[in-house]
């Protein structure tokens, strides 16, 4: 049952990320990759909160559903590095470097924030 719920919540996380990307692309077509950064930051923040809030043995299932399912679906590693790789090939070096460096830094900040809120 947990496996099914993880899959369903993973799908929900992916759809939320897509809606982020869709809404940003609709209003600002050139700034699309930043929606992925925002989704990664939000997902990492929720993961930080959940990982340090749900620590009891009774919370294992909910923890797995939220962390592996929803947060895993909301965040993406593939696009976070594939897009900068393609951008540098198209000679957008500054943009690619900014994406590669800011994503981990912003996500670290959000994870620590989530962790702090959980305590």
């Amino acid at each position: 049952m947990t496996l099914v719920l993880v899959s369903i919540f993973g799908a929900i996380g992916c759809v939320v990320r897509y809606l982020f990307e869709y809404l940003v692309r609709r209003n600002h077509p050139t700034s699309r990759p930043w929606a992925t950064v925002a989704a990664n930051a939000l997902g990492t923040g929720i993961a930080g909160f959940t990982a340090y809030r749900l620590t009891g043995t009774a919370d294992i299932e909910i923890r797995t559903i939220v962390l592996t399912g929803f947060c895993g679906g909301l965040t993406t590693f593939s696009s976070a590095l594939a897009v900068p790789a393609i951008l540098q090939r198209e000679h957008h070096w500054g943009y690619a470097a900014a994406l590669i460096t800011t994503t981990p830094l912003i996500c670290t900040g959000m994870f620590v924030l989530g962790m702090s809120l959980a305590h």
Partner: protein
């Protein structure tokens, strides 16, 4: 669906369905793969978090993430290069499946576990994850260059 930046409610619903199907499959495979225990505890011994930080390295997730970057780069740069971001194939494979298969948040949760054991080890694994991802991206681009 390809030429429109703004989708009608029906098109948006269909796009979300494609993302959800791919995302559910990707998340399911990642969850199953993460159940692989590389460090099998011998029978009869107590299960406890290993004090050895190297046992906390998320090898499976690192492999999944690296593979995901390689495939995504190859798809976006070559096979789906001229496909609109709302193209069903791109939504199903890149936004949905690969997005669900790979995880940035899962990596941070694993890095936090290593951080409590060794800060240097945590930074080393974090750097390794980024560098291996970049390397996979370059491989994906190179694959395209050989074909072109």
């Amino acid at each position: 669906m390809r030429s429109h930046i703004t989708l009608s409610p029906k098109q948006l619903g269909l796009a979300m369905l494609f993302v959800a199907i791919g995302g559910a499959a990707g998340t399911l495979i990642r969850d199953l793969a993460l159940k692989i225990n590389l460090y099998v505890v011998p029978r009869g011994t107590a299960i406890y978090p290993s004090p050895d930080w190297t046992h906390q390295i998320p090898w499976v997730l690192l492999a999944i993430n690296t593979f995901g970057v390689f495939v995504a780069t190859d798809l976006l740069r070559h096979r789906l290069k001229h496909h609109d971001p709302n193209d069903p194939t791109r939504l199903l494979l890149v936004t949905g499946f690969l997005g669900g298969l790979t995880s940035y948040s899962g990596l941070f949760v694993d890095l936090a576990a290593i951080w409590h054991l060794t800060i240097g080890g945590c930074l080393l694994v974090a750097a390794g994850a980024i560098v291996s991802g970049l390397f996979a991206g370059m491989l994906g681009l190179g694959r395209h260059r050989r074909r072109a």
